[in-house]
Amino acid sequence: MTNQPDPRRSAESISTEIGLELSYFTDESERNFLPLGLPVGYLLLQWFAEGLVMGVGATASEPLTDKVAVAVKGLRTRVGRLFSRRGGTPQADARAEEELAIDTKEALDVARPQLGGSSGDELTRAAEAYEQALVGYLTGEGMPAVDAVRIAQRVRSEAGIQLRLGW
């Protein structure tokens, strides 16, 4: 066991959990998506970490449900952007992976101190809301609920490992 954060390991773990469900993230005509497994792993990890930071900052005037709704829209846009590149080459895929790896590391580094001072209840509430939102997003894309739940749980658990949160 290492104490060093290892976002790549978590992104790989999410990517493995997604496995062949990757097709739900993309338009039905897209086929050459396998190189994007790891980038999607990073993307979900980053999205969840950013969501938690937003979620624990929810207030009466800006409730958690509103923040989650905005985050889901953002997720749809980001996923769309990742898959919509045309004529994807191995170099383009590698670049996307590299960029997302950097962004994810940054998001985790920003989130860690911010979440450090939050209460356990607040964190759990935010984590549950974002996990549920991810399930909703995935089932909305046609994925059977059982697979959506499995993937969302993995994302939450890996985010917890990288942010050193115990849930």
Binding site: E12, L20, S23, R31, G87, G142, P144
Partner: protein
């Protein structure tokens, strides 16, 4: 210290030969039946042609290749465009028709050759004799009318054992008969699959009908509705209006969606997918020696989900629902294709050259890009491409104990 390799005894050599023969029969028949015979033969014809001339497609860039009733224009990036007719201005020099494999039957030819070899090689061996008999039965089931006969059998059961059967004919009696019928269809589908006696598409249609009708019955509020759900569907498939069962399955799914039973159709499609996905996972976690045998049945369940998903997508009026159905169908199709590709890969690499090639390639990846990248590539070959079971990951990554 590694032990010195020893010479195999005659019995051991025969056992290895027998094992390889069983594997070859299974994989050839699997490639033939995983979707349907014409598709299986065509894919194999392309594989054989590619193996004989690996650069054949690159020689055709920009040409119009005759395929079936139309043409495919081969593009430089490995993609192709389909044309029903040749576009205006295409010259005869741009058209290639010697790649038309629509009449080729390389898989059935291979099975015939295997049958002959098996009978010649071990006439005194009852196990081999039995295997040769099984090959013969597979070949006999390749008659053009085979798929219709399989559907006729299902229809006959529907007519004689449910609709026209003697009995009280009350609600409970009809429900019981209907469930017995669907149980029989389920067992029949598995028998056909085990014996390679029907195409994957025929078996998938049987499984699909069974799944969506049982889901609708399960969601019925009372016994009357339950009976209606079961009997209406049996009435839909029993008449002899179609030669094939596939349009009956898609027609039934579309009709159910139009009548408002979308939830039942979704439940049926997801149960098919869950079964197919589960079989893939079970195969991945299982023995290396029986990996492809365990993987093969998954394709029919996935194909069943494809048929239901596509039919529901075309029947629903809701654009969001249509998109969700289409995605479910695409995912199931993707899995079915990967199962089929894995079987084709295994058939081409019966001598172990495929894994040797992958081990060397992964070693090169590790040297050039490091352990993590090599491990991900190996995982991709297993988890996504379905080429190998998980037990072979250490072998692929050269981490296996030589004594294993």
């Amino acid at each position: 210290m590694m032990e010195e390799p020893r010479i195999l005894t005659k019995e051991e050599t025969l056992a290895v030969w027998r094992l390889r023969a069983i594997q070859e029969v299974f994989l050839t028949a699997g490639c033939l039946r995983v979707f349907d015979r014409p598709a299986g033969e065509l894919r194999e014809a392309y594989r054989v042609a590619d193996a004989e001339d690996p650069h054949r497609l690159s020689k055709l860039i920009g040409k119009y290749v005759k395929r079936g009733n139309g043409y495919v224009r081969v593009l430089g990036n490995g993609e192709g465009g389909a044309f029903a007719e040749l576009p205006d201005g295409v010259t005869p020099g741009e058209v290639v028709d010697d790649l038309d494999f629509s009449e080729a039957t390389p898989l059935q030819d291979r099975l015939r050759e295997l049958s002959r070899t098996l009978r010649e090689a071990a006439p005194e061996d009852s196990g081999i004799e039995q295997l040769a008999g099984a090959v013969q039965a597979i070949l006999e089931a390749c008659r053009p009318e085979n798929e219709q006969e399989r559907f006729d059998q299902v229809r006959e059961w529907a007519n004689t054992e449910v609709l026209g059967a003697d009995g009280p004919g009350d609600v409970q009696d009809m429900i019981d008969r209907a469930y017995q019928f669907f149980e029989r269809v389920g067992i029949y589908a598995k028998e056909l699959q085990r014996g390679f006696s029907a195409d994957g598409s025929t078996i998938a249609a049987m499984l699909a009908i069974r799944a969506i009708v049982l889901a609708r019955a399960e969601l019925a509020d009372d016994r009357e509705y339950e009976m209606d759900a079961l009997i209406e569907s049996i009435l839909y498939l029993a008449p002899g209006s179609s030669e094939r069962i596939e349009p009956i399955a898609t027609g039934l799914a579309a009709r159910m969606v139009r009548l408002g039973y979308q939830e039942a159709v979704r439940q049926g499609a997801e149960s098919l997918k869950a079964e197919g996905d589960g079989l893939i996972v079970k195969a991945l976690n299982g023995e290396s020696l029986t990996y492809y045998q365990a993987l093969y049945p998954a394709a029919a369940y996935e194909l069943g989900a494809v048929r239901v998903g596509q039919a529901a997508a075309s029947a629903t009026q809701d654009p969001d629902e249509r998109r969700r159905w289409a995605k479910l169908a695409v995912n199931a199709e993707e899995r079915a294709v990967r199962v089929s590709t894995a079987l084709g890969f295994a058939l081409q690499n019966l001598d172990g050259s495929g894994i040797a090639h992958h081990v060397l390639w992964l070693r090169r990846v590790r040297e050039e890009k490091g352990d993590d990248v090599a491990r991900l590539k190996a995982l991709d070959l297993v988890e996504n491409q379905l080429f190998y079971p998980r037990a072979l990951l250490p072998v692929l990554l050269n981490e296996a104990d030589p004594s294993d």
